[in-house]
C-alpha cells in the first residue's frame, strides 16, 4: 500500500465531493421542487426530446469523426518527421485555447452560404452547413478534436517499431499488422479519446449557438433550451433538463468506460494507464 494512503484517499474524496458532488446535489435539490409528474412532463416534452436528439446525435457524430481523423493525425505527428511538425503539433491544441464563441462566429462566417467554404459547398453540392444541424456537427468536431489526438499520442509513442518489424517478419501484411497488432493496443486509448470528445461536445454551448440557427425542433441543442428556461426565470424547469442531460451522459460514459475496461482487459493494452 502507498504511504499516506488514508490521507490521500480522504483528500481525493473530499476534493471530488466539494468540486463535483456538491454542485450536482444542488441540481438534484432544485429540481426536486418540481414533483415527479411535472419533471416527467418537462423532460419528455416534444421540444426537449428533439433537442436531446440534436445534442447527442451531433456530439456522437463529431466524436466519431474525431476518432477517425484524430487517429491519423496522432499517428502522423508521432511517426512521420516532416518540416513544421512542431507547429502542426501546437495547432492541435488551438481549439482548447480559443474562446468557443470566437470559434463559433468564425465557423459560421466561413460556412454560411456567402463564406469561403459555404459558398462552393452550396453551389456545387447543394449542402448548407451554417444554420443547419450540419453546422452543429462542424462546431462540435472543431472544439473536441484535441482530446483524441492528445490521448493517442503518448500511446503511439510507446509502441516499439520492433513490434511492427516482428509482425512483418512473421509474414503479416501492412494491413494485418495494423488491424491485428497495432490497433488492439490503441483501442483503449482511442475509446478514452472518443469518450472525452463526446462528453466535451455534449456540454458545448458557446460555439454552437452562433452556427446552429437555433430553430425549435430542428437545430436547437439542449443547453440552449436550458438557457431559454433560465431566461423565463423557470429555474426548476432548467434544472430538470440539466438533470436529464446529466443522467444520459452518465449512462453513456459508463457504457463506454465498461467497453474500454473490457478492451484493455482483453488485449492487455495500455488502457489501465488511461482509465
Amino acid at each position: 500500500m502507498l504511504p499516506g494512503f488514508g490521507v490521500s484517499l480522504g483528500l481525493t474524496l473530499t476534493y471530488l465531493s466539494i468540486l463535483i458532488l456538491l454542485p450536482l446535489s444542488g441540481l438534484l435539490f432544485r429540481s426536486a421542487s418540481l414533483g415527479l409528474d411535472q419533471f416527467w412532463r418537462i423532460a419528455t416534452s416534444a421540444q426537449a426530446v428533439a433537442s436531446y436528439r440534436v445534442t447527442f446525435g451531433a456530439s456522437f457524430l463529431a466524436a466519431l469523426i474525431n476518432a477517425f481523423f484524430g487517429l491519423i493525425v496522432a499517428w502522423i505527428l508521432v511517426r512521420t518527421p516532416f518540416p513544421g511538425k512542431r507547429f502542426v503539433d501546437v495547432l492541435v491544441d488551438l481549439p482548447f485555447a480559443l474562446p468557443t464563441a470566437v470559434a463559433g462566429i468564425t465557423l459560421a462566417t466561413l460556412t454560411a452560404n456567402t463564406g469561403w467554404i459555404g459558398r462552393p459547398l452550396e453551389n456545387i453540392f447543394g449542402i448548407r452547413v451554417a444554420f443547419t444541424p450540419v453546422g452543429i456537427v462542424v462546431a462540435l468536431t472543431f472544439i473536441s478534436l484535441p482530446f483524441v489526438v492528445r490521448t493517442l499520442q503518448p500511446v503511439i509513442e510507446d509502441i516499439e517499431p520492433e513490434i511492427e518489424e516482428a509482425a512483418a517478419s512473421l509474414g503479416a501484411s501492412r494491413f494485418q499488422t495494423f488491424v491485428r497488432v497495432l490497433f488492439p493496443g490503441l483501442l483503449p486509448a482511442l475509446l478514452t479519446g472518443f469518450t472525452l470528445s463526446f462528453s466535451r461536445a455534449i456540454g458545448e454551448y458557446g460555439s454552437v449557438i452562433f452556427i446552429a440557427g437555433n430553430l425549435p425542433m430542428v437545430s436547437e441543442i439542449t443547453p440552449l433550451l436550458i438557457l431559454s428556461k433560465l431566461e423565463q426565470y423557470d429555474i426548476p424547469g432548467a434544472t430538470a433538463l440539466a438533470l436529464v442531460m446529466l443522467m444520459i451522459s452518465f449512462a453513456l460514459l459508463l457504457c463506454v468506460n465498461t467497453l474500454q475496461w473490457w478492451a484493455a482487459d482483453r488485449h492487455g493494452g495500455n488502457g489501465e494507464a488511461d482509465a
Binding site: 416534444a46 462566417t109 454560411a112 437555433n214 430553430l215 433560465l230 423565463q232 426565470y233
Partner: protein, 336 residues
Amino acid sequence: MSQTCREVWKVFVILASMLVAAPVWAAPGLLNVSYDVARDLYKDFNPQFEKHWKEKTGETVEVRQSHGGSSKQVRSVADGLEADVVTMNQASDVNFLAEKGLVASDYAKKFPDNASPYTSTMVFIVRKGNPKALKDWNDLVQPGVQIILPHPKNTGNGRYSYLAAWIYALKQPGGNDRTAQEFVGKLLKNTPLFAAGGRDATTSFMQRKQGDVLISFESEAELIAKEFGKGEFDIVYPSLSIQAEFPVAIVEKVVDKKGTRKLAEAYLNYLWSPEGQEVMAQNYLRPRNPAVLKKYEAQFPPIKTYSVDEVFGGWSKATPAHFGDGGSFDRIYQIK
C-alpha cells in the same frame, strides 16, 4: 525551497494580498449592473455624472459598470452581486428582482416616465435600395422574404420584434389574438435562423449577407452605420411599432447595506437631466425630455408606437402568454 520557487511564492503572496485589499483602495462609488449594449451609453454618461457630483458636493466618486445578457445580470444581482442600481432593457428583468425583494415593488413609480429615462423602437434594416420593397410588417410575410431575428424566447431584442409584429396584426381591421398569432406564424416561417443575440443577428445580416431584412432597435441601426458604413443598407420605419422601455431601479437592500442610497438616487435622477438626456440622444436612444428630443429630431423620425403596458398589460403578462411554456411562440411551433 529553491530560489525560483521562493520568488514565485513571493509574487503569489503579493498578488493574493492585492486581491484581498482591492476593495479598500477603491473610491466610494456605485456599481451599475446593466444590459449588454448599454456599455457605450454608460461609458459616456458615468464620467459626466462623476463630474457633476464633484462640482455639487466636492466628493470624488467612481461609478463602475457591469454589462452582460440582461437576465444573466439580474440573476447575478439576485445571487448577491452588490449592484447599487440596475439599468435594464426590459421590465421583466427588474420585476424578477422586485419579486425577490431586492427592488421596491413600485420601482416604476419612483422615477418619472415609468422609470425609463429613454425609449427606442423596432425598425427594419434592408439591403441598399430596398430591392424587395419592404415597407411595412405585411411585406415581411410575403413568400420568399427572409427575415433575420434574434431568438424571441431568449433575447430582449427578439421579444420586442415578436411583440411588435403581434401589435401590428392586432391593430389591423378585425385584428384579434387569433389573427395576430397567424400573422406572427407566417413571419416566423420566413425566418431561416434565430441569432444568438442582437449583435449576432447584425453580423449574420451585414457580414454574412443572410436574409433580406433585419429587425432591430433603432439605436442599433445607427451603430451598424458606424460599423459598416451608411451606404450599405437602408432603414425602413414601418407604419407602427413597439415602444421599448429601459427601466432603472435602486437595489434597496444593497444601498441600505452600503449606505449609498443618496448617491444612487442622485445618479438615477441625473439620467433625466438635460445633460444626461443629451448623452442618450447621442447614443441614438429617444430622450424623454421634449427639448432634447426636438434638438435631435433629425435622427428620430416620428413613428406611431405602442408600449407593452398598453397592449399587453405589462411584461408580467406578456412574458408567460407569449414566451413561457405553451405560450404563443410554442403554439406556433406546435410544441406541447
